[in-house]
């Protein structure tokens, strides 16, 4: 009897130990932690999206992913190289300092420093100057059209704060320079940074003096990353967390079955596609004197052999968006006509292979990661089987991202996967210049297949120097059309994203860029 009683007592005591939900506190468990509090230290989309709660840019994306004013109220193009920004007045940083032109200059200087890892996010930047306390001129390379897109992700620091804490230059890992901004923050955003224990807990509190109208009712955000999918789901079901921006796909039916929980799923911006190496000789194949993938018939055969619907239903639990387009519909530059896939037709694939001179197929290396895209490993296994059915002999090579990407970079593959979200630019120019354009100068960093097509390059280069949006998007559409005609890539789908919320959350806004925006979140009162 006594034993039972003390057990019951222990249970009651222990029951208290699970942190109870508090009104106004949003407990958020992402799958991994942000890497730093310094928005210029890492080119990581998720980190930037979290820091956007504390820091803001001159412009931002609205709820339709269109650019709207943020710290800048308006802007105009003075001449082909000069943009003039009129800053918002009366904005204060969290430490009380006023937001002025000097802050913008100091931030631009910091982000464009030769040692800044985020420099690539502002590729066209030349210099900037102060016109008056609330007007700034930014000089860019001639006719650069995407400055506003780039500026959405350049968060603005307070100059006085940077100087006082000797953080005017970016953190330098190579030289062992630790930055004050790595573990401290002072922005203008809707939330103030309170404390941080890496991989354990980061806390934000509402900024009562935010310049924008407060639409949310979140007083406090406690972000505790949970890496293990099973544990994250458990924490959600047991009510220890209110929100996750990474609900594991395999657990979605289970989460939906629970009456308290809601799952928000959709396809995100990232398109997954296959890349085919164009070197004169195949990397690892029984065809040793040439590269079958240089033949368009072979590339189309590979395409026709893929049953994309089966992948969507079986591998992706019906949550992906099967596509024939290299960019998602939400990306400016998307062309609906290009979103039609080549038919799934194994017989035609066999016929095309025979016509190309490979009636018995051929072997090739098929490089995939097991840690990068949603269910990438399973996608590759399924597609390997589909290709085997038409007589091809893919050798599937799986490994972690960091190892596989080095092989991709070195051209040690025949066929492989790549995913592109066009972040942070949110414009098809991103994929065109980085993936489709030939490797020349700064372009084509991810042109792993080694494509070199003069016509496409010319179109992309021209788009990169066209300020008029419609004209530019028309050029980009032409470039995408050309890529389609050549069957340069085999698109698979836009991958799914899934968020889940607990009973305390009334609504969260989910856009296809997969970024949580808790300044628009409503909690149950």
């Amino acid at each position: 009897m006594m034993a039972w009683r003390s057990a019951a007592l222990a249970a009651v005591l222990a029951g208290v130990l699970i942190a109870p939900a508090q009104a106004g506190t949003l407990r958020w468990a992402p799958q991994r932690d942000i890497v730093s509090m310094d928005p210029y230290s890492f080119g990581d989309t998720f980190t930037l999206s979290v820091l956007n709660h504390v820091y803001e840019g001159l412009v931002r994306y609205d709820s339709k992913l269109q650019i709207e004013p943020a710290l800048a109220e308006s802007w105009e193009v003075v001449n082909p190289t000069t943009w003039r920004f009129h800053l918002r007045k009366g904005v204060k940083f969290h430490d009380g300092a006023d937001f002025t032109a000097d802050d913008v200059l100091a931030s631009l200087k910091r982000v464009s420093d030769p040692n800044s890892p985020l420099r690539g996010n502002l590729p066209s930047y030349v210099s900037s100057s102060k016109v008056d306390d609330y007007t700034v001129d930014i000089i860019v390379t001639e006719n650069y059209p995407l400055l506003l897109n780039d500026l959405t992700n350049i968060h603005i620091f307070d100059q006085g704060w940077l100087v006082a804490n000797k953080a005017e230059a970016p953190t330098d890992v190579a030289k062992g320079v630790e930055g004050y901004a790595t573990s401290h923050a002072n922005g203008t955003g809707p939330f103030k940074f309170i404390s941080r224990k890496p991989d354990a807990e980061t806390v934000f509190e509402v900024n009562p003096n935010w310049w924008d109208k407060r639409k949310h009712n979140v007083d406090r955000i406690v972000m505790t990353p949970i890496t293990s999918a099973a544990t994250r789901v458990a924490a959600l079901i047991s009510g220890e967390i209110d929100f996750t921006n990474q609900a594991p796909l395999q657990d979605i039916p289970r989460l939906e079955a629970s009456s308290d929980l809601k799952v928000l799923s959709n396809s995100e911006l990232r398109t997954i596609f296959f890349v085919m190496n164009q070197t004169p000789k195949a990397f690892e194949s029984d065809v040793t004197d040439k590269n079958p993938l240089q033949d368009i018939k072979v590339r189309q055969a590979l395409y026709h052999a893929i049953d994309a619907d089966a992948i969507q239903k079986v591998v992706m639990a019906g949550l992906s968006r099967t596509t024939g387009s290299l960019v998602s519909p939400a990306i400016p530059g998307y062309v609906p006509e290009l979103d039609k896939r080549l038919s799934y037709d194994p017989e035609l694939a066999k016929k095309l292979l025979a016509e190309a001179g490979y009636p018995n197929g051929f072997s090739f290396s098929f490089l995939c990661r097991n840690t990068e895209f949603v269910n990438e490993e399973q996608i590759c296994q399924a597609v390997s089987a589909m290709w085997a059915r038409v007589g091809l002999r893919p050798n599937l090579n799986l490994g972690p991202t960091t190892i596989q990407d080095a092989k991709f970079d070195a051209g040690q593959f025949d066929v492989g996967t790549l995913g592109w979200a066009n972040e942070p630019m949110i414009d098809s120019y991103s994929i065109l210049v980085q993936v489709v354009h030939s490797k020349t100068g700064n372009a084509g960093v991810f042109n792993w297949g080694g494509w070199k097509d003069a016509e496409i390059d010319a179109l992309i280069d021209k788009a990169g120097a066209t300020v008029d949006r419609d004209e530019r998007l028309a050029l980009q559409a032409k470039a995408l059309l050309r890529a389609n005609e050549l069957s340069m890539f085999i698109p698979v789908h836009q991958q799914p994203m899934a968020w889940a919320t607990g009973a305390n959350i009334e609504s969260v806004l989910q856009l296809s860029d997969n970024k949580p925006r808790h300044w628009l979140t409503r909690m149950a009162e």
Partner: protein
Amino acid sequence: MLLLIIKRMANAIFVILAVSLLAFTIFKFLGDPVQLMLNPQATQQERDLLTERLGLNDPVPVQFAKFVFNAARGEFGMSYRNQMPVMEVIAERFPATFELVLVSSILALLIGLPLGVFAAIRGGTVMARVFHLISMIGVSVPAFVIGIMLILVFSIELKWLPAFGRGKVVDLGFWTTGFLTPSGRAALVMPSISLALFQISFIMRLVTAEMLEVLRTDFIRFAKARGLKARAIYFRHGLRNCMMPVVTMTGMLIGDLIAFTLVTEIVFQWPGMGFLFVQSVQYVDIPVMAAYLMIVCCIFITINLIVDLIYVVVDPRVDQLVRGGGNGH
């Protein structure tokens, strides 16, 4: 005793060098941290620049020499991922792992030893069989499965214990501890049980086997004949004589515990060194991985040294053996 220590230390330096070389060469094949640090939009030129600045273009022997030289001064550089000095990052995580391993080892000894003795002297009873069965499960079911089962029962169904994290910790300046708050102690329960279960079972089985061996020997029979109390026979004479392998294995097990925390820390989102290591592998955070391996290597060596010294205390014959005196029995 001093000679023993000197001999061991000389061995240790050799082992540390070997481990550092091994660690270093493995990491050279791990891939490219630059890819992870930059935005996909970064240009080739920016990639090359960062590679150069991180010293990744130096020849491997040069990188290794730099590494050993700096490591000798406790200088492991900056973490690529956390952008903080590596030693600071590790010092921040060490208390979490240490407290977890400490509680698990205590659990393992406190439960494993008595159960082992019980199973030996009450062999054949129903209770002993039940313990035997549980210990079978303990050694054969992996820690992460046990962790997830515990979460399922105590977090989801009963809602008694938190599924993740360390709870509220108290910062003592040089150390953060979860022992001082109720939520910190609650958070320790499931991770330490799932981590300790294997060790409990292992120690129990080991003690049982050793005890059965010792109980068959003549001196126990004589002790019984002399009419000594059962407790004195079993614990003072019996248990003490089977402590040698138990001490060795416990030392090894503490090493294992540190290694196994990798899995447990991932399951329970325990912000310790194992978790840090796994994250570092994903980010190719070479300085942290290298430092972690070196530190774990040093911990292993220290534990081994301590085990050797305990030997001498438990069994003086060992010291004589090392000195080369042939007077041992």
